[in-house]
Symmetry: D2
Subunit: 473 residues, 4 copies
């Protein structure tokens, strides 16, 4: 229930194409399928081999790109971005891809993730006379590339990457090359596909299905892939890698039709729901999920428990930026917004309400109260992940310690606050087992830091951006 | 799969409030919850007891109404409309409520349904010198009221209603009265609720949940309800009534959280899915539904058959008016639009694909082919309603005879056309039993004309609008 | 200085074409040249011989019509309108041409002028069951035509015109005819021209120059001209005519490059300025005019008096609807808006400031004060028309008696109020002589009612619109 | 007639305020009065002493700034810019003021003029790793300031200015200082004024009249003025100054109500017209000017020659960006756009048509032909400046050598091309004398390079921007 609660629920999405005459159009459809990863802004930069040309704007993919403008983006290569502001503020200039032109040619960057040493690097660059045009951590990479002493672009990029710490999936494009880089922990998902003879790259594999591409493989931690007229080349830019894929991508962020490192998201979620049913023994009449991200887990729960799955909550599809929020007075009279309970389904019933996570607890409290007002006899809240006790520094907006209800409250206290008849979280072990990765190690190659506090990289409190500093105690 | 196929899937929705100081705001939220019934235009007219004042426009509720404009609509009474153009063309002037001002005061009308003798009445009125400003059949009622010889508004409305034939749920508002009328067959749903001391009326009960209203009762066929300073008054405007509620409201149109005449839509659909499972004996690995309207039926099918329900198809939420359609070339390369198959779920599986209806068959063919391309071993199409063989004249846009695939093809022919391994329709009896109405009569008070050809009213081929004439053979 | 003062300065403009394949495009350019006559809304209706089709909207010609939309208006005939709201309120529905469709075909109307018995006629029509969609007096003609017992459209129009009183220039178009009618006093200007073989009609001849048309002749009072496939036909619809051309068209409204009944507007204004110089004997250093409409008169004054003409006042061209008005505080600190004095020209000088009229006196006071603040030693205000003492009921918005400063104040009192060193109005005789019409009668065929109170038609106080009632005492 | 011909007629305008609580509002009105100097984009940056905040956009002042946004720009200091793209392309990022934020604070720049060594400096900075965000020459100054070794901002600015060559009037603002710099030749006009206790600075003095400011003095060539909490400080940043004010500012660009170095523009133009009359002896019936910039000269000509001034040409005020240009076919049929001849004034007359300049000659030819088609017996073209034979590198867009008709044709050849009965240019001496500056030197401190080819600075062909390179042979 991360999204409902915070109004900001996603990190960014990136997509790129190399070697297709309709590169911009394919990128449009690719970005469109990644829209759930960011709705604040979007852009596409194309290369026709001679020059880079871009279009970007604040808003949705369908708002920013119009037929005539999209048709002007000619070229065989393109990179695109959908933005959710994890670091840096809003504003047109922060919308990506960032595009830099100079006498030696163009340079375009698209980034998914969050650098933990961005501020330290920016301070140093400004002291040397560099002028930053954005408040995005992505621009740091551009300056590091420009100031690198190496001559070849690839060496300059590798040199620059060696200074970064944190989570990142980067697309770097010049007139003649498209480079793809993933951080040494592989925190963010990134996959390679093919459309006929052309290559494409995407944050999620759902984009491949939409553009008719075939999935080839996932990008590996610490890998730098270069696409150019000479074909595809891969090399590690570091050997100190340690896989730590963001668990929240499985639980909440990614689309159910995507696969990450071989595991389908819907299936993973359904399995988390089944695990949850196995870990609990609640007697109830109906199982319902909080739409949209918890539906798969609820169905899994119902299947494993034998309790029927029902549509107990419904989401209004037409709530967008321009929706007029009800006044406090109308809200108190019962006017609802995004979610409505289905009285015909829950009235007089004992309801198991499956959700994917609890962050601050306010939304859970509201939904429980809504279900009870609609006549539910009992409401049992079952969460298909462990309590979130620690902030994320890698691009997922899970609030500060102060806001995380599980950071300072026991499960029983939370249950009391949200007004549920019972509250169950999935165990850490059940989460790892439910997702079902087969790799070695305690976490099977996943980052579980928000649950366990064990971060896969260093964190630098002194150089964080202001809002990040609050996250650290 | 009506919506996917035709691009036009709904009739209209109406909402009204009497006796609440925030009448326009409540109507905004009410209309918002009815948005699925019409996305082409919307409007609100308010009365403050002295004058009527309105705002309308083409587009969604959130596009037409902005905070400042909504706040200017002061009054204790309001009627509103969301429009899907069933009769008459598009255009600003056809957006409802229609508002007419004259020396004797204002008159506002909102209408859900379709009159079958609108054209005949319009011809006669024009011959008498009346000037029509819209191509909407709704305006006929206004002229009939204005030309009626009676003095009281209620008598004039009853006099005018006596000349109408077809399906209609009308809201008629003057400065001092709000009248609610339902056709003698009760073809369209219409319910009365209360918000504190205020009355409200809505096409669907989901609107009551959203505005915090309590459901009171359904409006009865041939009933005229008058709300005024003297309270609520009900009287029949005809005694020749015969209940014939549109079955498609249960199967496809209404929101799953609404109840029509006491039956919850989600529950009805789930029961239709269960019935369907009972009428078939298909061996398969997974059940999947075509989102959104077939999900409940698919879950019912899974529950009754014991075959697991999975997310085999996913709908992109961000496809709207401004989406750039892929070119034919890109479509042939595999670029998809609204629906994507989930490869991780269907690959190598025998899939039961549950849908609510087949109209022209083109969408079904596309989805079957999509599932097979994603690796489904078999695709069994199960439809939770009987074949649609006859056009609807009551406001539901189910194409002409020529376009209705079931009108001229056997089930086996259709199966062959859509490329399914098997195709099953729910029986007429199963449909009636699944919905579960307890009333007497062959159809238990439902209109089954699109399946059976037995229309509850006369049809007048010579006076239909041009596009309707095509519907009749 | 009518415009500066009231913010509403013009009546409407009409333009029509018959027999040219680019009728809509020509109408666009014609309306564009008449834009000074109305900036609130504009529209074009075309006929291709089979159907009428229209486009209209609030705003300027360049705002309402875009290339793609204009190109869709195919047809050989067109009528267009630029609107300044003289009667009826604002709003989209009041924008003209009004277009009415019915089973017997379309009817489009464009009107310049103001009917003095519109309200009485409207009352009667509504009592008979007619529904009015606009608050425009123009719609009365449509209902009269529709209800007329005659069969031929021409007879119905003549029958309808016989009931109207006031000022009107009408364009009435059906699929097959374009009718042009001018009121029996010819209060509004209206001329016929030819573009090759095609006919055109315009409120002002400047439109002919812009579209490359040749001026043929002025429409005569009480004349009905019919354009159809049978060519041009003219007939009087009444013989009780009495020419009374609006004098304000010469003094203020029309464009300087137009001719009305053979007299060029710039030349008329220059002559009014010369007359004014002859009627006064003021010693001064410079003559300046209030832009734009008083420039010609000022040049005439300078030429006749021998005092040099200078640019003492400058108008900012970029003040439009979206201009942010300065706050009261900033205004008091000296922030100016539309007009600025030219210090380099007026400092230390005795200035003759020529303006075309004084309505309420507030603008004159502001300009005089502005000139003095810029260093003018003396400011002598010379008005190239007589004092306006009476309201206009024929479409010119000259305020009520109460607002007209000359209605209740002597010239010396006005001079004192506006703070001028002297104030001179042109005499009534000088005005008539300056314009230079050669016709017989006291006013040489002009309406001088706003100066003299002698109205050429009856006025009906009881049936005027509310704002007009205020005009009458 | 520079504007009519090229569609691009102006350089930029700048305005600044220091020490007034409504700094942004005053800047809005100041920029509005300078709108004639640039219509492509505009912006305002304010300082409240702690941070810089800006708003900019493409379009007119009234399009970019809305009341609510303007009210958010709080601060006691502001700089603003209206842009006409002289160097660099269009686009949002090139709109000024440019605003750069860094750890050490903000830096905002507004620039009027054109640097002739911008490209050479940019090449060098990029080689050192600087990233440019705009294609504007203005950004060079920002990088030079940022890379300067000096500590105080004033020293850094002086250090940076020492590397620039060309024409520039700069406003440089930090949180605590507003610096004003003018190039050593003083090519662009720039003046200082006071509004109560607050300082303001503007490209033209007309802005002072509009905001109620008092003119203090013109900024001197090579002067750097610093406004801060410590008041106003002035110092020369170079002693190698040589006044060379752009003559075109007097002849064409500036508003008639502005004064440059003590000379009123209207008066200068009228005197140029008088000089022109004295240098010619043409017999004619009427004098007319090409609106708007040639009106003053035409009036001067009429006054000196005794031939009456008439409105022979009229400009349509409503032609803007959204005007639909007539097709070639309609143009050939006589449809006109911005200018119309006044037949009633020119028919049968010998016309003297006064214009301020001839660039390519195409517009002159069109106007002459238009006047003859309207019946003019003879058309004598009199230009109130000498032939333009050389391109301008200082910010005025006078085309390349190839396009300048006077660069390769004699006066008689030009006369023949434009179809005039005679053609007269004002002499170089007459131009200098007409403007009437009293300073020493051959050109009295004016830049006459476009007439004489004597440029006041070096020109560097190798480092010019592409479009500038074409200008040089």
């Amino acid at each position: 229930m991360l999204a409902e609660l915070k109004g900001l629920n996603e990190e960014c999405g990136i997509f790129g194409v190399w070697g297709h005459e309709k590169a911009a159009q394919l990128t449009y459809y690719g970005l469109h399928s990644l829209q759930h990863r960011g709705q604040e802004g979007t852009g596409i930069v194309v290369s026709d081999g001679h020059a880079l040309q871009g279009l970007k704007g604040e808003g949705l993919v369908t708002e920013v790109f119009k037929q005539d403008k999209l048709d002007e983006l000619n070229g065989h290569a393109a990179i695109g971005h959908v933005r959710y502001a994890t670091a840096g503020g809003g504003g047109y200039e922060n919308v990506q891809p960032l595009l830099f032109n100079s006498q030696e040619g163009g340079l375009a960057l698209a980034h998914n993730g969050n650098l933990v040493n961005a501020n330290a690097l920016k301070h140093q660059l400004e002291r040397q006379g560099s002028i930053f045009q954005t408040s995005s951590d992505t621009e740091v990479l551009a300056h590091l590339i420009k100031r690198s002493g190496y001559i070849s672009m690839k060496e300059r990029v590798k040199n620059a990457l060696s200074m970064l710490k944190g989570a990142y999936a980067f697309l770097v494009m010049t007139e003649t090359e498209l480079m793809i880089a993933l951080d040494p922990n592989g925190l963010r998902p990134l996959s390679i596909g093919m459309i006929g003879d052309a290559y494409c790259v995407a944050s999620e594999t759902c984009a491949f299905d939409v553009v008719g591409a075939e999935f080839i493989r996932d990008v590996q931690p610490g890998e730098l892939i270069t696409l150019s007229d000479e074909g595809i080349q891969s090399e590690p830019f570091t050997f100190s890698t340690q896989k730590a894929i963001c668990t929240m991508e499985y639980i909440y962020f990614s689309r159910p039709d995507s696969n990450i490192h071989g595991i389908n998201i819907h299936t993973a979620r359904k399995n988390l729901g089944k695990r949850l049913a196995m870990e609990t023994q609640i007697e109830a009449d109906v199982v319902t999920g909080v739409p949209d991200s918890s539906i798969s887990a609820a169905i899994g729960y119902a299947e494993a428990s034998g309790i029927p799955y029902e549509l107990g909550l419904i989401k209004n599809r037409y709530v967008g930026r321009t929706f007029i929020q009800p006044s406090q007075a109308l809200r108190e009279q019962g006017v609802k917004m995004k979610l409505s309970p289905v009285r015909g389904v829950v009235e007089g019933k004992r309801v198991i309400m499956v959700d994917d996570s609890i962050v601050r607890g306010t939304t859970s409290r509201r939904i429980v109260s809504m279900l009870k007002a609609a006549g539910a006899k009992e409401v049992h809240v079952c969460i298909s992940s462990p309590p979130i006790k620690n902030p994320c520094y890698y691009g997922i907006d899970t609030s500060t310690h102060e806001e995380l209800i599980a950071s300072a409250h026991s499960v029983e206290q939370i249950r009391d606050i949200i007004g549920a008849d019972s509250l169950t979280f999935l165990s850490v072990e059940g989460t790892i087992a439910g997702i079902g990765r087969k790799e070695e190690g305690e976490t099977c190659g996943q980052c579980m830091a928000c649950f366990t506090g064990k971060y896969p990289t260093e964190i630098y409190p002194d150089t964080l951006l202001p809002h990040e500093k609050e996250l650290v105690r």
